[in-house]
Amino acid sequence: MSNAIHLHYEVSGDDFTRAGEASGAVKKRLKSLGYNSDAIRRVAIAMYEAEINMVIHANGGFCDVDIYPDKVEILLADNGPGIADVDKAMQEGYSTAPDNVRNLGFGAGMGLPNIKKYTDEMRIETTLGVGTKLYLTVIVRE
């Protein structure tokens, strides 16, 4: 616990162009710490999809990242509308994103499946009208 590096980022809900800043910063930090490129990429992609979701579906939120020698733990929390049916949301191709989001290159319903694919653990806590917490763990394998 004591040798963990803790990072915190606020994610703005009204600037789509800045979505991904936090993920990019974490990626850069992991690189400078010498983590292997496979682990870095898995963290970056999973966190990026989650960050995008926070912006397009939940009006922003925050990320807490804990970097350990053997794993990276990420919490992404928002006060958005929550997810009514998590099983459905996890299906490839399921999306409630409006057309304007699709025109920006997202909203294909692949975000949560991608996150699942790249992480070793993924847990969703969500309450309608309250918000969503996404807990992700990526194990660093040498």
């Binding site: 162009t17 979505a19 990019g24 990626k27 990429r41 999809e49 920006l104 997202f106 694919k117």
Partner: protein, 115 residues
């Protein structure tokens, strides 16, 4: 194949110059960023008709060295400066998506996946 070869094959124009000698092993053509993010490949180039900063961020997360904007689309200053800070080469080509992908494919670049 290196970034410089891609520019030549696609009669492209450099908008933002990164490492032109960076080796390119595979390519990916898409306007949906989550589709790009679904398959991790090594040292690749992204061809897209989509022009916004998230194209650069997607390439950043995937460690892609180069983005090709098809149909002669011009990225704005915010996109260019983002690419600059990430050391990603931006190219524009007048070819449309199908033709640009076909040209790279017939010059030996593959998608890097079986299907």
């Amino acid at each position: 194949m290196v970034v410089r070869d891609i520019i030549e094959i696609l009669k492209g124009e450099i908008i933002c110059e990164g490492d032109l000698n960076q080796e390119i092993k595979t390519a990916c053509g898409s306007d949906m960023m989550s589709d790009v993010l679904a398959f991790v490949k090594d040292q690749s180039v992204l061809l897209t008709g989509l022009v916004n900063p998230q194209v650069v961020r997607t390439a950043e997360m995937m460690d892609m060295a180069c983005i090709v904007f098809v149909r002669g689309k011009d990225p704005d200053e915010s996109i260019v400066s983002l690419a600059q800070s990430r050391d990603i080469t931006l190219i524009k080509t007048r070819y449309r998506m199908f033709t640009a992908c076909g040209l790279l494919y017939s010059n030996g670049l593959s998608g890097g996946t079986e299907v």
